[in-house]
């Protein structure tokens, strides 16, 4: 009997379990999946929770429900991975031997990396919305907040779902408008990059959204510390931004088990081949989703496309065949712009988000890089797709793992 072990039962790990259970012969392979938590969160929902658009119940379910029969589900923390002997040691002492290991441990926020962030004001007037607890605490704060300076801040790149902070700013504008108190809230978007939008085409097509919604931008801001006593964030160039309420996206890091096991880079992400998803250092270890160091977006849609390619490569690896270098960095994301509208973007390693229609060339119904109500409906429908299709590994019709250029307006490709 051979063993395939999946570390992490989040979006990527659960998808891989569902893909592989029907592909690997049960008489030859035992599949085990390990996760320390019993709850599976619909993470895209964390964006909506603070604004009372989603309830807490809509964003969490028992993780076990999504692990197919025939797979061993172990709920324990991972102590260390020992690649030299092909072992995973769990906190309670169990040792899992593996022939193939899939790392799907994701990424998490590390507010302790920035001085003053996770201090006495954490979740008083300094919040994150990248965790369930943070999003819920912020919801409670917003319900009673009387207004003031709202700073929406990105600590450093890379972050999960790079566009979420911008969506947050748009939704905040709508939320306070609907509450009849937009004039009491001063919204500033603070980014270490040179703009809220960083690609020339998107900047041209979308920068007006910030102006229309009266959202100020502070760019090239690399935070050194939070001065929580005086409600200011200060960057390395001594630029200061004042806030009454700070909503920050702290440094994102991979799981600390990668550091303990010597498998991660300086942010605990696992160096991974960007086309095959095999790790650089160990041929029988593969990585998927946010846990990798790939120059792709850390997002569920990326993990979804990766899962199809990784499944095939695992089978190829087992059969001793050459791996497919097929993953192209494909991402496909809805971007909420507030007031019941959204954008849709489709891009990969080499192509910027472009205008056009999706998924049917020339027809849509979704439009790329343009605000529409249909796109917003798409984003809302996606929660159902996530729980019922995506993590169960059901193929989403008409959406391919690699990006198609049909029906999209490519100009000069840079």
């Amino acid at each position: 009997m051979k063993n395939l072990v999946i570390l992490g039962a989040g979006t990527s790990g659960t998808m891989m379990a569902n893909h592989l259970v029907s592909k690997l012969p049960k008489k030859e392979w035992e599949i085990t999946i390990v996760d320390q938590y019993s709850t599976h969160y619909y993470q895209p929902g964390f964006l909506f929770l603070p604004f009372d658009i989603y309830t807490t119940k809509q964003v969490k379910k028992k993780g076990k429900k999504f692990i197919p029969k025939g797979i061993r589900y172990v709920q324990d923390k991972i102590e260390i991975i020992k690649p030299e002997v092909n072992h995973v040691v769990l906190e309670h002492g169990e040792v899992l031997a593996y022939d193939i290991l899939i790392v799907a441990t994701g990424t998490k926020i590390a507010p302790e990396e920035t001085e003053g962030m996770k201090g006495p004001k954490w979740r008083e007037n300094i919040f994150d919305f990248y965790t369930y607890e943070g999003a819920k605490a912020l919801r409670n704060k917003f319900r009673e907040w009387e207004g003031g300076k709202l700073a929406i801040h990105i600590t450093e790149m890379p972050i999960k779902c790079p566009v979420a902070p911008l969506e947050f700013a748009f939704l905040a504008d709508s939320y306070f408008k609907n509450k009849g108190m937009r004039d009491k809230v001063d919204i500033t978007f603070v980014t270490p990059l040179d703009g809220a939008f960083t690609k020339p085409k998107a900047t041209k097509a979308l920068h007006h959204l910030l102006e229309d919604k009266n959202i100020k931008e502070v760019t090239d801001f690399n935070i050194e510390r939070v001065d929580y006593e005086n409600n200011k964030i200060i960057d390395y160039a001594d630029t200061e931004v004042e806030y009454d309420l700070l909503v920050t996206v702290p440094t994102n890091m991979g799981d600390a088990v990668m550091e303990r096991s010597g498998l991660g880079d300086e942010l605990n992400y696992v160096p991974t081949n960007k086309g095959t998803l095999q790790t650089i250092d160990h041929e029988n270890i593969f990585a998927i989703g946010d846990a990798t160091n790939l120059p792709a977006s850390k997002a569920g849609s990326v993990a979804h496309f990766e899962a199809e390619i990784l499944t095939e490569n695992i089978l190829r690896y087992i059969n001793g065949e050459k791996l497919k270098e097929e993953f192209d960095g494909h991402a496909n994301c809805f971007i909420e712009t507030g007031n019941g509208k959204a954008l849709l973007i489709d891009f990969n390693y080499t192509h910027e988000p472009v205008e056009g229609t999706f998924p049917f060339p020339g027809v849509g119904p979704l439009s790329l890089l343009k605000e529409s109500r249909t796109n917003h409906m798409g984003k809302m429908a996606f929660r159902w797709i996530y729980w019922n299709m995506l993590i169960k590994g059901v193929h989403i019709p008409f959406v391919s793992a690699t990006m198609t250029e049909k029906g999209k307006h490519f100009e000069t490709v840079q």
């Binding site: 450093e156 790149m157 890379p158 790079p162 566009v163 911008l166 270490p192 990059l193 040179d194 939008f197 960083t198 690609k199 020339p200 998107a202 979308l206 090239d220 690399n222 050194e224 390395y236 160039a237 440094t251 880079d265 300086e266 942010l267 160096p271 960007k274 160091n293 120059p295 977006s297 991402a331 994301c333 971007i335 973007i345 891009f347 988000p353 000069t412 840079q414």
Partner: protein
């Protein structure tokens, strides 16, 4: 993409003036781009630039944190070398792509 003459060389640059092909880079080009930004390059600058180019050639994503842990400079020193745009200006001068988000 357009062609620009920098330090007597015709190179391909993006709309924002970043080199499209890092192999077209040389020290003369670095000095001229730095001059346009208002930075005079020292040996320390070149140590950072070479580090950025090595990591980019190895397809590793660059972050300020990574440069800060490179052993060449810490983050504060990186700021002193490339004021107002530690990663943006250093990338432009090093002839590598601009650091961006997804959109």
């Amino acid at each position: 993409m357009s062609v620009k003459t920098i330090a007597g060389m015709d190179v391909n640059v993006s709309e924002e003036g970043y080199l499209e092909d890092m192999s077209q880079w040389n020290e003369g080009i670095a000095n001229e781009i730095a001059g346009e930004i208002g930075i005079e390059l020292t040996d320390k600058h070149f140590e950072v630039l070479n580090y950025l180019r090595e990591k980019t050639a190895a397809k590793e994503a660059l972050t300020i944190r990574k440069v800060g842990k490179s052993g060449i400079v810490n983050i504060k020193e990186l700021y002193t070398l490339f004021p107002k745009g530690p990663l943006k200006f250093s990338s432009k001068i090093a002839g590598i792509p601009k650091p961006t988000s997804c959109i």
